[in-house]
């Protein structure tokens, strides 16, 4: 029986987005997916998904059209590096703020 006087605070974490807070704010470059090149999107099959497998923050979904959760994506670029179809481009966040060059 645990003694209620002892809360025994310890540090434990489970893998998943958000375990280190809203890490999306750390991002300098944003991964942008081109579904015309993406293997599952092109073939309509649950295949490849290396972006999902390699993402260290579990923010890429294992969908036919993989989705990246930008709330937590730190912009590390591992998915772009691993994508065998070069379907992911890392684009500077400057382009997405109001007044950015593509805005």
């Amino acid at each position: 029986m645990p003694d209620p006087r002892f809360k025994v605070l310890t540090s434990a974490s489970t893998s998943g987005p958000g375990d280190a807070g809203r890490t999306g704010s750390w991002r300098v470059e944003r991964p942008v997916l081109d579904y015309s090149r993406c293997i599952p999107a092109k073939t309509g099959k649950s295949a490849c998904h290396l972006c999902w497998l390699y993402c260290p923050d579990n923010v890429v979904s294992k969908a036919i059209e993989p989705q990246i959760d930008l709330e937590y994506c730190k912009g590390c670029g591992i998915c772009a590096e691993e994508c065998p179809a070069q379907a992911i481009e890392m684009v500077s966040e400057e382009n997405f703020v109001a007044g950015g060059e593509n805005e």
Partner: protein, 404 residues
């Protein structure tokens, strides 16, 4: 059936660990601890103890194995001495911060350099801030009783416990003691169930980088930051003293021994001068007290400190505050300052208006002989030194038995 034996302190400790049914033993031999772990390995090899003995290449790994075992919810034990304890130092802090229950016997020995295999308390004192509960035994019976209580304490409060006993004075001498009945111990110390044990069905990363601030985890549940975890370790270590008293009361009821788990006073009720000490020297002082009371009519007593961390601040201050003088005899010091125990005591007494005169004596470093005659003389002199005109001089530690 309980059993009366005459054996060494190391064997007494090993038999207590066997009775406690520790499941993983990982240790590296170091004098004067070696016979304790040899005995455990013999018991396991002979099939008399159902445990895994992990032979490791260092003390750092020994505690690492215990940390792994305790994380998986297994009762773990290790033992060491001196430089071996220091080699574990990083892991000591880890085991405490991770709130892992385990027990370690530290067979106290001086620290090198220069190399020494003989007894003092510098090894344990140097690790006092690691977050471990530190208990001190004065004889073989206490080694057995304290070790058994230590397992239950560690598992109830989730803080690792160090059981200290003096190298050679206890480890290698033979004394009579009683070994409790195994079935009764099983009732006193039920199987270990760690609430936070690792579970392959529910993978987690333990004690990875923990942010300065609290955070919401992946399930949206608020998780503590580093400082919150450390704050609770401190608070719950203070609370552990109450739990130790509860455990001791239960132990006393079952086995007939106990009643002084934190402070063990001898002739302190009417004492004007009280010696404070830890380990075997506190027992040696019982003879000194008897002699000074008989021969010199001095009202002296000795208070053995059984728990060094958490420091029993209020209890010790209440016991000592009305004494005329308090003499701290210790086998270690904070180099460049004074005896660590003395400094703790002084700080505990500070809030009390009628605080006693304090004296600090350093004895027996690296096994230097502690002569009862020297203890009598220094204590007598200190008792007669009521008027302390130069506090900075009397506050400095006095070294007993120097041969310079």
């Amino acid at each position: 059936m309980s059993e009366k034996l005459i054996d060494s302190g190391n064997n007494a400790a090993a038999m207590a660990v066997q009775l406690a049914a520790a499941e993983v033993i990982a240790a590296y031999p170091i004098t004067p601890q070696t016979p304790l772990t040899e005995k455990l390995s013999e018991l396991i090899a002979a099939g008399e103890m159902d445990a895994e003995y992990v032979a490791v290449e260092s003390e750092h790994s020994a505690l690492g194995v215990c940390i792994g075992a305790a994380s998986a919810g297994v009762r773990a034990f290790t033992a060491t001495s001196s430089n071996g304890l220091l080699y574990m130092s990083e892991q000591l802090h880890w085991a405490a911060g991770a709130r892992l229950p385990m027990v370690m016997c530290v067979v106290n020995r001086g620290i090198g350099a220069p190399w020494s295999v003989w007894n003092d308390h510098q090894d344990a004192m140097s690790q006092r801030d690691a977050g471990w509960i530190q208990l001190f035994a004065k004889d073989h019976q206490e080694i057995v009783d304290i070790t058994l209580k230590a397992f239950r304490l560690a598992e109830l409060v989730h803080i690792p416990v160090m059981v200290n006993y003096d190298g050679y004075y206890l480890s290698h001498t033979y004394m009579p003691f009683e070994l409790p009945d195994a079935a009764a111990v099983k009732e006193f110390l039920p199987a270990y169930e760690y609430a936070h044990a690792l579970d392959p069905q529910k993978p987690e990363s333990l004690n990875t980088v923990t942010l300065p601030d609290s955070r919401n985890d992946t399930n949206g549940v608020k998780q503590p930051g580093y400082m919150d975890i450390r704050h609770n370790l401190h608070q719950e270590m203070r609370l552990a003293m109450d739990v130790l008293e509860e455990i001791d009361a239960d132990y006393q009821q079952r086995f007939g021994r106990g009643g002084a788990p934190i402070l063990d006073p001898y002739c302190c009720e009417d004492a004007e001068y009280i010696v404070v000490a830890m380990g075997t020297i506190a027992n040696q002082f019982r003879d000194v007290v008897d002699r000074l009371r008989q021969e010199d009519g001095l009202k002296v007593g000795v208070l053995a400190l059984q728990v060094y961390r958490p420091f029993p601040t209020a209890k010790i201050a209440e016991t000592l505050q009305s004494a005329k003088g308090v003499m701290v005899y210790e086998k270690g010091l904070s180099y460049g300052n004074q005896g660590a125990l003395y400094a703790d005591l002084k700080s505990a007494l500070y809030p009390y208006p009628a605080r006693p005169q304090l004296h600090n004596f350093i004895v027996g470093l690296g096994g230097r002989d502690i002569r009862t005659e020297d203890l009598c003389q220094t204590l007598k002199t200190a008792c007669q030194q009521d008027d302390l005109s130069a506090p900075e001089q009397t506050d400095a530690p006095q070294w007993i038995g120097l041969q310079l």
